[in-house]
Point group: C2
Chain length 191, copies 2
Amino acid sequence: MTTFKLSNNAIGEESVLQQKMKRQKKSNQEGIHKPKRKRITPEQFCLLTELFQQTDTPSHDSREVLAKKLNMTNREVQVWFQNRRAKVNRIRLQEQEEQIMNCTSDKKVKFNYWSSNHLPSYSSSSSSSMTSSPSLPHELIFHPNVTPIDILATAAAYVQQWDENELQRKRKQQHIEQEQPKKYKSWRPWL
Amino acid sequence: MTTFKLSNNAIGEESVLQQKMKRQKKSNQEGIHKPKRKRITPEQFCLLTELFQQTDTPSHDSREVLAKKLNMTNREVQVWFQNRRAKVNRIRLQEQEEQIMNCTSDKKVKFNYWSSNHLPSYSSSSSSSMTSSPSLPHELIFHPNVTPIDILATAAAYVQQWDENELQRKRKQQHIEQEQPKKYKSWRPWL
DNA sequence: TTTTAATCTAATCTG
DNA sequence: CAGATTAGATTAAT
């Protein structure tokens, strides 16, 4: 906060210290496990989201099954669903407000996470698109029924194709320059 | 921060006010565009990461090409690469520290974002796995050369399969119960 | 549901 | 550009 320099001085150092304590606890201290705030993995997110599509309030048993599958506690799954419902409601309310705001004129196209030009406009949930064509769609007509499966499949197809193109390009280059060092190559590229 | 209640009182309110101001500016005020802190989209992340695999310090021209493709400014791409390099170095140093810490005994298996049981153990970058088999691999042998393409493709395949299974299960159920309300169905499922 | 606070990261600053 | 820092946004947990 730029407005309160005092707090920056007083608290900034404190928080830095705390961070360092956290790091050290994480790495070396005895088994006082306090790994506060676990973050869910993409896999967990994937399945949780899928279930959320079907029901925003899964039964205790449903949660139990998923929890076991994802190596989470039932409670964690429950909390995740609570937070997700809250988020959905929050965003929905916000959008309603915005719609009221610019209902008269000002029909701006809303920004959309997937609105750029690398996703297809198909809307059915499963199959297709991975096995069909090696050519990439480049125009997206946004459709609210596009599911995470579509998103993931398309992203995978795109990146895969992109990767192959790059590979071919690089093969051609390798005839010219024989070696390149390439730092970080293959070192946790997904981070 | 729990340790400095004073700062919480003094600054917390301030920041809350600021947040509200931001919200309002976003929606209704005149074109004083201050949408600070754009977040990159998954697409952008995908391509940026791909390029990062090849080189962590792309040339100005490389950045320019990618920036145009991703609808970003050259500067934004540059900053992204700077921050990514910093992150990579940060994590690398941290891991080195941890290795030093528990080098003697204590050979704990390190937690790994993708270590759960839904990813295959193949390591080549492109092709395969999407087109080959409808059966899902359930054991992951972590390999540092597994690329984002692998991750994405596998995730897509998994979720897709999972979705189809659920669909079949639901079809069977529908013979029993004819209708279910299902709130949130198809409403921004990817959020 | 609302709030708290931990985490992540876009952006800025310094050398 | 690297490294440190700031501050905006998200979200696990209460």
